[in-house]
Amino acid sequence: MRRAVLAAAAALSLAAPWHPARAADRALRPAGTVQTDLTLAGRRIADLDGDGRDEVVLVARDGRVRVVRRGTDGALSAPLGELVLPDPARSLLALGHVGDDERTYLLVASPGGIAAYPSVPGAWFAVRPVHLSVRARFTLRVGEPRFAPIARDLNGDGRSDVLVPFADRCEIWLQRAGDESGPSLALGATVNIDVDRRTETGGDALSDVLESAFTIQDIRAEDVNGDGRRDLLVADADVRAFHLQRSDGSFPADPDVRVDLSLFRDTTPEAKVRLGRTLAGSDDQRYESRDLDGDGIPDHVIAHRRKVWVFLGTRDGPQFEHPVAVLKTAEDMSALLLVRVDEDALPDLVLVRLEVPSIATILKGLLTEWDVELSAVGYPGRAVGGFDTKARWKGELTVRLPALLGVIRDPDALIRRFESVSQRFGKSLIADFDGDGRDDVLLVNDGESDSGGDGAAPRVDVWLGAPGAGDADAERVVGHVLFDDANRTWTLERMLAWLGDLAQRRAARLTGGRKPAGSFSLRADATHRGIEAADLRGDGAHEIVVIYDGAEGGIVDVLAWR
């Protein structure tokens, strides 16, 4: 009964067909609303049935999967479909392709294996899946159905492969070409992965919290031997392993190349953390990988204490036996960066040293501002790979930090300042909103920066016409800050202002510095959890889909430029 009421309400919602209007009369306007009874866990935008029109996929915490779309009459539908995931607390989701089917499938990894739910005519998901594998079992508890980047075409065959993460490893299941029994997955490789975890078990106070948290790092797939096929890069403690993709799209179970970073040791005695001396980071080896010589194949840099080894990648894959260069620095390094400092396209090597403040400085820093000294040295990259042995750039910086006592008393104030700056970066969408064939820009404005923090309502602003060319070369910013900037002292205020300027410059580049062509305020009585661009009508003019958590359930608002 309730479903019928909601369907009726949705049908009555504002869903006026689109009327072409004069350019001068066009603005960002509401184009439909759907109120659901779903406590939302996730959403995606995709053209499920390949008809050129996007749909909105909504997933609820209880496992219900529903689709909202525009019908041929232009009206927004009520949530469609009957699919309920069997184990919502242990389900990872992704949209992908199965076999040669052009339809989009909902791939679900759960304790039951990997199931693929096809979209059906009408563009929602079938309730009966295709079982791609019952052996690929995902058993971790995630609390609610989660979209995760588990489906990707690792071997370039046009079919979605699936990653299944565990507490200490990741299984890679490759989709095989379908046979008489249909499409299926085969275990391609099992790789070790890094897992960060946080655990709290003790609690003598009412205010204590018991906690279990973990983060599973993604595997990296990158062509490391220049054959055009993506290879697997795996990190497991000190070991880096490379599984090179074969021509048939398979991966070897054992890595082709394996390097134990702990074998690379600088025999200079370990720098103890003596206050007033350089902090040599930890005594762990550092590893970075990047194409240093412009041949399209990643190269590898390993650093320990004062020594840096540079290895060029080859067409046979990474090699760690013949360094093209070994650099020795005068002092211990705290951090290593591979960034472009000069105008050429080659990455340069930047070594950063952090000087640990003395006891006196730290103690005085409890009550007053205190300084941390930082120095950097840059070595230009060479076309043949490696770096010049002579440093070209040098810089010294002072980071001036606020009194610790103030931070201890009210850390939330500091966090809010950084949050305020991060909100100024805002979410941006680039899509053709007015259907003229050119990309337009949407920025989400939280309202705080305009109103001086007086709590103006958040809104979306739209600029029509080609956006500015992406983000500025962020890498060169590092070189400017470390080596060129005349002001060598960075206070917290300056850091926050700099980040704020960065946000403003980014917005100016995207918008061309113009005023928005249109704006629309977001709901004040609901929490917005996502904004997406979707071509719901299939006419090339993207609409703006805003998803909210409302008191009664998820809300889908659609805005259109018309």
């Binding site: 946080r198 609690g203 009412l206 599973i216 966090i415």
Partner: protein, 532 residues
């Protein structure tokens, strides 16, 4: 207090000998050292009665091997006499890979206790003496356990989760899960053991997040030890650029077992960011799923409050009426100078409680104290031996003079306060103020290793002694004695030993047995039993 020359000389000799290695322990502490054999590393240790003889045995969770470590338990049964434990364990057990945590409790009719294993989907008993492998593991509770990721080397010690909740003499099992707590109450019938499970569910809102819903997790938490700001620059694919495949965070308030209504049964209290929740234990029937009481807290617990280093809430029977009371410690966020407020809430007389028990309609405390400086880490524990919990509080005073002194002397002054419980009201001023000097140079390495705790009476005068580790390389037991209405600390330690800087110290919970200490390091376990 002026030391006698003899004591001063003894102390100097002790410290001199400490410079070269482990100090000769004073006769007041009996020390047993258990080194780990080659290839094994101690990861955790605790004391519990395994063989049912009433004495605490030593259980060491260890790992052997490198990258493909196997975890195991080494059980050392206690010996009579001076040496409590011998180096060779009485038995060793391999742990299955999916075991997340362990405890020891008598949960099976077999003689003695069993090893209680916590796995992601339930709790099992491991019977060390079972003849057949298939009889070795007995399922006890099938449920979702909060901690679902086993570690290849470490094992959580969850001994606090086994306790006699219904006071029938048999240990019960408390299992925190993502949505609340399962409490398995053990009964014995016809020689067999059975567990009846009560499922306590937290309301779907307010479970420790200021936003209420579990969907969004707050970024700054009181227990977070870092604030990270990251900007990703560069096109490389090194270690710094890995993304996340999956991030999961689950948490529940730590449940407290205290008698709410004075019926002699332990009830469960838990605090969210908005309410104090109470589940009353029903005689012979366990607990209901939903809390029977939901009492709005007397203050707003937002992110700012959760990041307040002083913020703590504790419960105990303060006024001796056998019903739970409440102590709130929080920084005064409106004051110009740093200071902390201590609010004590005791229960109204039976029959006179309002619609908002404990806090009253206006949320006014029974008693309010103010402490200057930055104070925190409160504890409720009986220091003076009168049977009532007193309030212990640590503080750091950070005015300019203290800072200059610290710069000159390289010590940071911390203080420990004890507010005695005078029949339901805390003394207006501390009955004990003791200075604890924290060497500044040790702050970095010894972070998280500091300890100052009242561990119980070992001298027989009824007053609890103070175990101190402000210098992470020194562990001392200090005598505390009554001086009129106040307390004082005797400077000369009853016991002192050097410990590795990275070692962890485990203290037995206060109870009927004398306190003991374990010092856990890579090399092994040092056991200390106090008393002459």
């Amino acid at each position: 207090m002026k030391r006698s020359p003899l004591v001063a000389l003894a102390t100097a000799l002790l410290l001199l000998s400490a410079g070269g290695g482990a100090a000769a322990p004073r006769p007041f502490g009996h020390v047993t050292t258990l080194d780990m054999p080659r290839g094994r590393r101690a990861e955790a240790a605790f004391l519990a009665d395994v063989d049912g003889d009433g004495a605490r045995d030593l259980v060491v969770a260890a790992a052997r091997g490198g990258a493909r470590a196997r975890r195991l338990l080494r059980v050392h049964l206690r010996r009579a006499g001076e040496t409590a434990f011998v180096p060779e364990p009485d038995f060793e057990l391999l742990l299955l890979p999916d075991v997340v945590g362990i405890a020891v409790a008598d949960v099976h009719p077999d003689p003695g206790a069993e090893i209680v294993l916590f796995a992601p989907t339930g709790v099992f008993a491991l019977r060390p003496r079972a003849a057949n492998e298939r009889d070795r593991y007995v399922p006890l509770v099938r449920t979702e356990v909060l901690w679902q990721l086993p570690h290849h080397r470490k094992t959580l010690v969850l001994q606090d989760l086994v306790r006699d909740v219904d006071h029938n003499g048999l240990p019960d099992i408390v299992v925190p899960g993502p949505g609340g707590y399962d409490i398995a109450l053990q009964h014995e019938r016809d020689g067999a053991r059975a567990f009846e499970i009560s499922v306590l569910r937290l309301p779907d809102w307010g479970a420790d997040t200021p936003l209420g819903k579990a969907g969004r997790r707050m970024q700054g938490r009181r227990q977070a030890r870092e604030m990270r700001v990251s900007i990703r620059i560069g096109g490389g694919a090194g270690d710094a650029s890995a993304g996340e495949l999956l991030a999961v965070s689950e948490s529940v308030p730590a449940p407290q077992f205290v008698d709410w209504d004075g019926d002699g049964l332990a009830d469960v209290l838990a605090q969210t960011t908005t309410d104090l929740l109470v589940w009353r234990q029903r005689p012979g029937q366990g607990f209901t799923s939903a809390p029977g009481l939901r009492i709005p807290l007397p203050l707003t617990v937002d992110r700012r409050r959760l990041l307040d280093i002083s913020f703590s809430a504790l419960t105990s029977d303060i006024d001796g009426d056998r019903r739970a009371d409440y102590v709130l410690v929080a920084g005064d966020q409106d004051a110009d100078e740093p200071r902390v407020q201590i609010a004590l809430y005791t229960r109204a007389r039976r029959g006179e409680e309002t619609g908002r028990p404990l806090f009253g309609e206006r949320g006014r405390p029974t008693q309010l104290l103010v402490v200057a400086g930055i104070a925190g880490a409160p504890a409720l524990t009986d220091v003076d031996g009168d049977g009532l919990d007193d309030l212990v509080l640590g503080a750091v005073r950070l005015d300019a003079l203290d800072t200059l002194r610290a710069v000159a002397g390289s010590d940071i002054d911390a203080e420990l306060y004890v507010y005695l419980n005078r029949r339901g009201r805390l003394g207006r001023h501390p009955a004990l103020t003791t200075r604890l000097a924290v060497p500044a140079k040790r702050l970095r390495r010894g972070r998280g290793k500091s300890l100052a705790r009242f561990i119980g009476d070992v001298t027989g005068d009824g007053v609890a002694e103070l175990l101190v580790r402000t210098d992470p390389t020194r562990l001392r037991l200090l005598m505390v004695r009554r001086v009129g209405d106040a307390l004082s600390v005797v400077e000369t330690p009853l016991f002192e030993t050097i410990v590795p800087e990275s070692a962890d110290v485990v203290v037995t919970p206060r109870g009927a047995l004398p306190p003991e200490v374990l010092v856990l390091s890579r090399q092994g376990v040092l056991h200390v039993r106090f008393g002459r």
